[in-house]
Symmetry: C2
Subunit: 321 residues, 2 copies
């Protein structure tokens, strides 16, 4: 009852309620599930943009500038910044502070930072849940900003309608590092800091890589746009390319298809996570722990142990019914 | 019956049988599980070394040199090279060829390359299964060589008894990129290509980062070793540090503890993978696919859908019993 009341108050004018609901949702308990179920019918209106790339490419700056542009057009923006926080660098924290000063106080902008540390597995689930809250609140655009390192971050970027991969002239070896992962999810590329030496050759090698790609049936060819986000150069072109991609998706009916694919992945993740949590209760974890010495010594094989635990789980479902 | 016969022939003298069994195991069907169960009692003797780091750090070269050193000492070596193959670069392929020429023909060396492309989730499971085959065959050392990008690759490196993280003077921003992930799994670091400019300052910043780390109760402090693997410099020191770590683990009884922890993770992965495969049969995947339009349109929430599928799975277990 209380929850329903709160959800009725969910709109872009009420940032405190949004914050509160996202926090509730992040708890990941049965209450969270109820909230997400109730929210769901209000979702689907926001356009979701993923901005990813190697660390230091200028993703936050680009996100900030793009947000300011959208605000000028009267659009509201929700940002989910996913950040594999490190105990070693304060970079992310500093960036957050700059951001809050620049756009954080704008009534039409909501920013939520999520740290991946210690919760890698559940991060894409949490981010997409939070995006649903922002979507239901009525934001026109939702931007997922994630570092393109690791599967989980890529999963988040892929969950967007349009995915932008940001690179810099120096990220030549980052391209190597990320390899297929980043290349394949990009709907277009932004070569940021393109006033730096090496920009033209970076552009050329990027183009070469794109040409080497398997050309599938899809008629959309990812472009490469040059920006200097720090100086607000090229941002309008980025917004225009997002718009062009959106239009392409709508006209080819691919938006629905993409969203269906994403929702399928999401349901599968929820199912998987739920059942895994059910299986690994303290009792079974304790049992495994007890037996691990016998596995090491060669008496029981890991596969035999797994079978035993699965059978135990299944038997208990039967008994509960 | 046939399988048992093959397993009896499993030893380092018989590379064709090893290859065949690994391929069988990779199929991941019930036959594979049977083989792994039978093998298991023969495992536990090999010492497992993980070598990881950013692309281009020289992991293969280091692995090759270390292997040659072990061979001189009369030890046998099995190598599992995990490679996030890219459609864009031929680097890995070239490296493989060099390697085969250098050590591939040695009777006491077995090399298996595994590509992560398209099978990211199952890669750590597959690698560890293959390591069990090599362990049962009787190799003294098993080296997991993986690129330190992505969770799956890190999982493999962590499954080793001693994990070596290889960096180069230029990988300053790689450190940023990998952040906590690589730092936390290292039992020691190798600064390769340490004859390059910037080696000393790289060493210093690495030391600074290590000092900033939370010091936990464990008395083992990761050292940083300098090598020029290409010129075979510093390799003996690497082997000595592996030996020192092995001795430390044995004397502190931490080897058993570490292996228990790893085997727990492994059993959990097997259980999770098995049940997820069971749930997502064609029927349920088809049903989800059919309903995804209604999820997009807001009629059904993803959480409701997940619940329905889970209930269906559980009900069918009951009926089957």
């Amino acid at each position: 009852m209380l929850t329903e009341k709160i959800i009725d108050q969910l709109n872009t004018e009420n940032k405190r309620i949004i914050s509160r609901i996202i926090s509730k949702v992040e708890e990941g308990n049965s209450g969270s599930v109820e909230i997400l179920k109730m929210l769901h019918s209000k979702t689907g209106k926001a356009y979701r943009i993923g901005i990813t790339g190697p660390p230091g490419a200028g993703k936050s700056t680009l996100t900030n500038q793009l947000t300011k542009l959208y605000r000028k057009e009267g659009k509201t923006v929700g940002i989910i910044a996913v950040d594999p926080t490190s105990p070693f660098t304060g970079g992310a924290l500093l960036g957050d502070r700059v951001r809050m000063n620049e756009i954080g106080n704008d009534r039409g902008v909501f920013i939520r930072s999520m740290a991946s540390r210690g919760s890698l597995g559940g991060l894409s689930k949490k981010s997409i849940d939070a995006a649903d809250v922002l979507d239901a609140a009525g934001y026109d655009f939702i931007i997922f900003e994630t570092v393109g390192v690791g599967q989980s971050e890529l999963d988040i970027a892929k969950a967007a309608d349009t995915t932008v991969v940001v690179l810099v002239p120096e990220s030549g070896d980052s391209i190597q590092a990320m390899k297929a992962g980043l290349m394949e999810i990009a709907d277009f590329f932004v070569l940021n800091k393109s006033d730096r030496p090496g920009a033209d050759s970076a552009l050329m090698s990027l183009q070469t890589i794109l040409m080497l790609r398997d050309h599938d049936e899809k008629s959309w060819l990812p472009q490469i746009l040059k920006t200097v986000a720090q100086e607000n150069k090229g941002i309008e072109e980025v917004a225009a390319e997002i718009e062009r991609h959106k239009k392409y998706l709508n006209e080819s009916n691919l938006l629905l298809e993409k969203r269906k694919r994403n929702v399928n992945v999401r349901v599968q993740e929820i199912v998987d996570k739920t059942i895994i949590t059910e299986i690994w209760n303290n009792e079974r974890l304790g049992y495994l722990n007890e037996k691990s010495g016998q596995i090491i010594s060669g008496e029981i094989s890991p596969y035999q142990m797994a079978e035993e635990i699965l059978n135990n789980y299944k038997k208990n479902i039967t008994l509960n019914e």
